[in-house]
Symmetry: C2
Subunit: 559 residues, 2 copies
């Protein structure tokens, strides 16, 4: 018995991030001790520009599938896509109970419904402690740009691991439930072995403003504006939606909701009691005609300029119930996520053209970040006072800068670890070390129903096709005589507008004809040779005449 205990107590904890390092998005981290694994979050990220046709990007679950019997549970910090978006895909490969606060699980539930799957979901409240195998997980209230967000303090045989999730230090959140700083301090005093902390805003000095600032700006706008008000924001930001509704009530306006995700989240949040809306305030978006402009607020999706969103449809007269009119006051209560700057300014221009007054974050304090800036990060470090630190949630520049910040606060450099996805931090009682490439952690691409079946070769082909299109040379060759009996014909897509370039296409056809004639008459019957000769000749001809390099695809049929 004693030996067993000793053996156990010398075993190290493995901490394996599967996502969220060197990237913003698809956050996921495993803790493994002996026969127990718990998972913290399971997010997705949105495809980069070069990921042609890809819908979503999720973490690689291979390591978990191999160790399926060890997995005790998935614990979720909050309900944003980059923390829950991968869950349906995980649950399709692994049966694991999901732990989260009520709003978080409500959002996960919506997602599972869309995918037609069910799961064991266990509700936890901030302050609860749950036991998962060898791990004891305490949940602590934090503040973020979504309600019901928590941090985790996880007791393990080698000490406490603290994971902040996404957070900011908001002393005056809309729901009146501030971040539980005193509990952080207690846990810090008790001793924390390893801290993992959100690095998203580490490049920004100072403090992130409180959600209350947005409330004040909203009140000022509502006081001034006498026309219709249309506000686009993130549907998951229930606090902001609540603040908009409160302000609407104060200024005697009705509220209509537009956009699928906004409708879903609002009805879920009302059902779960996260949104409180006085009777008679909400009106059906299809029945707003009878309400005077000065008595109406529309809350909508589309704050990122998404082309199919409700706001974009309003701006292009493509929305069933709402068209933007001269005098409308449109508020984009958000900042563009990096990469979305252009789609946002497109929508802003459309709104301007329709005669709307547009208020966005360049102009007014109409949005605050959900992530802690440098001074807040310092506060959190000083409360938790960990022995070891691993920055998470960030591109390399964020992780590196956060590591530097920890060092500035007095941490020893060799107690700070920057990992990559798939690396393992081995946390022993005395020694902590990093091992590279322990788990597969390449991005897994989701395209339609396909998960992981689109790889670099397919993406490269899509890129090439998108750049200069495609030319197909098709011919039928009689095997016996080695003669071309039909074709060659030229078919192109995405290359030039054929009707206006018939001469070029005909010249290209002639080139192929001559090459085939030359080599078949010389007795060359190896089709790979014929294809290469034709492709090369056509490629040179096209480049010399157009400066372009389309994909060239010779297709020969055997007769």
């Amino acid at each position: 018995m004693k030996k067993q205990q000793q053996k156990n107590s010398t075993k190290p904890l493995k901490v394996i991030p599967l996502g969220g390092l060197n990237e913003i998005g698809k956050n996921m981290t495993l803790l493994e001790y002996g026969n127990d694994i718990i998972i913290i979050d399971c997010g997705l990220s949105f495809p980069g520009d070069e990921m042609y046709g890809i819908d979503n990007v999720i973490p690689d679950f291979t390591y978990l599938q191999k160790n399926a019997s060890k997995v005790r549970g998935l614990i979720i910090t909050h309900g944003h896509e980059d923390h829950i978006g991968g869950i349906p895909f995980l649950l399709k490969t692994l049966n694991v109970p999901v732990y989260g606060t009520r709003l978080t699980l409500g959002l996960v539930g919506n997602k599972l419904k869309e995918h037609g799957i069910t799961a064991k979901m266990i509700n936890i409240n901030a302050g609860d402690t749950i036991k998962l195998g060898v791990f004891t997980v305490e949940t602590i209230r934090t503040t973020h740009s979504i309600a019901d967000a928590v941090c985790f303090a996880i007791d393990t045989p080698v000490g406490t691991v603290f994971h902040t999730g996404d957070f900011k230090v908001d002393y005056t959140p809309v729901d009146g439930e501030p971040i539980d700083l005193s509990r952080f301090a207690e846990i810090g005093r008790r001793g924390v072995k390893l801290l993992m902390m959100d690095s998203t805003n580490v490049l920004r000095p100072g403090f992130t403003a409180s959600e209350r600032v947005v409330g004040q700006t909203l009140e000022n706008i509502f006081r001034e504006v006498k026309s219709r008000i249309i506000i686009a924001t993130f549907s998951s930001n229930v606090h902001r939606v609540q603040k908009i509704i409160n302000t609407a009530v104060k200024f005697k306006r009705k509220v209509a909701i537009s956009g699928r995700s906004m409708e879903n989240v609002v009805s879920l949040a009302i059902e779960l009691g996260y949104l409180s809306v006085p009777q008679g305030v909400l009106v059906d978006i299809n029945k707003i005609k009878n309400i005077a402009d000065k008595n109406l607020v529309i809350i909508t999706t589309g704050s990122q300029g998404e082309p199919m969103s409700a706001l974009a449809r309003m701006a292009t007269n493509d929305h069933k119930s709402v068209q933007i009119r001269k005098g409308d006051c449109v508020i984009l209560s958000s900042t563009p996520v990096p990469g979305n700057e252009k789609t946002v300014s497109n929508v802003v221009n459309l709104l301007f053209e329709k005669g709307a007054e547009v208020i966005y974050s360049d102009i007014a304090d109409i949005h605050v970040s959900g992530h802690a800036c440098r001074e807040e990060l310092k506060l959190m470090h000083s409360l938790i006072r960990p022995e070891y630190f691993m920055p998470v949630h960030g591109e390399y520049r964020h992780l590196k800068t956060h590591a530097d910040l920890a060092a500035e606060l007095g941490m020893k450099r060799d107690h700070i670890f920057i990992l990559e996805n798939g690396d393992c931090l081995t946390v022993g009682k005395r020694k902590v070390s990093k091992t590279e490439n322990v788990a597969p952690a390449e991005a897994v691409l989701v395209d339609g129903f396909g998960v992981g079946d689109v790889g670099n070769i397919v993406l490269r082909d899509r890129k090439l096709l998108s750049e200069s299109g495609l030319i197909i040379i098709v011919a039928a060759i009689e095997k016996a005589s080695n003669m071309v009996v039909s074709g060659p014909d030229i078919i192109s897509r995405g290359f030039v507008y054929v009707r206006e370039n018939e001469d070029l296409i005909e010249a290209a056809r002639t080139i192929c004809d001559e090459v085939l004639e030359k080599y078949t008459s010389q007795g060359v019957s190896d089709w790979n040779v014929l294809k290469n000769k034709t492709r090369d000749a056509l490629k040179s001809f096209i480049y010399e005449n157009t400066g372009r390099t389309p994909v060239i695809l010779p297709i020969f049929m055997e007769i």
Copy 2:
């Protein structure tokens, strides 16, 4: 004679913008009076995300080609791409003399050399007055993020037209030649009929900082840093390059230049006397090995994160002479142009990973804009005091906000005109009015050597191909018997990785086989029907099994 004069004096001036309205880029404006046309600037813009494979975007020159005999000259405000990039394409369709300051013409000359064309180029100096047909053009010194920028005050029979070009109000430019505010005031007092003014920064409050601020930041960095310094900036910003060289000399560092456009502009600017470099300061980038890190500055292209730029190649160990090393201090003296945020952060992350210290505009005052902010715009309006105003250089939100700003300053709303490219402002002695769609002004796409041959159909095909790739069904059909004698075969590109999806491809082939068999045996010999039936069946099968919608291309050969 008197009658003739009277007739002339009642003729209106036409002002036709061909680019630069509702967009940032490809600035170009025509003034037409009777038999005389002058062109102000001829820029390009960079392709948007949806313009697959497009290299550049230029204005439509159709109106000018139709009125070729009237064109008296092209006058250029400064040498940035969005003001000169379209010139080679214009000159290929139209023989027109080009007027510009020395540096501007130097940059135009480089561009013409690349295109293998020549043109009549006439040098002008700030302060010069030139006569072009009925127009008398006075050039006035202004300040911008490139040296030798000018405004134009153009005397026409209906009054003076003032075009600011791009500008900021810099009282302390690096070359000591500040913007000529007193001349603006004189011209304003004399009376200006129509003002066209840069709107790029109208959304930003206050004043744009002077280039001198960057100089101070540079000095502070050079004083602190003991390692190698690598600075990326816009090659055309000769003043900033001069400041970097001055600072290098002060701190006893040699300067090496990297990147084709930086090398070209630096040698041009030295040749023309815009850059002054003491003997022995410049060193060949291929011979920097013998210079101690603390004695070296490298000035390079790549401040926008362009993947093939010198800086990006340094960061990926792909540069012949420079690899980023631990301790290097890399300065990005720029801000990301909208749309480039991601490429810039990619390069920043790479530099961080290589161990460089990276200083960019988020962190230090290492870049200032070249465009006037609101208070500067107000100053210019107050000096010029025009009768009519047309905001130029901006998306719709900029133009609208600039129009509002002019109204706030006291201009009558009906004296402010927001045009679209191709519209005409008809300026009579007494009446000014707008006519829509006078000249074709759609964006003309340049792809390889092709100008305007890629339109919406080709772009749509490239987009579709990029999203889910392509499936080709190929079969040979004997005409006489209406029987499939070879195939159908399936060929795909950018759809799935074929080797891992042989079952899917074989099932798809079987579907096509069955459809063809069914309809040919029923005697259907109309190939359009056969193609549609096959395409539809395959489309449904693919969508049901993969959730994707590749381009499907049936190709049948007649035997």
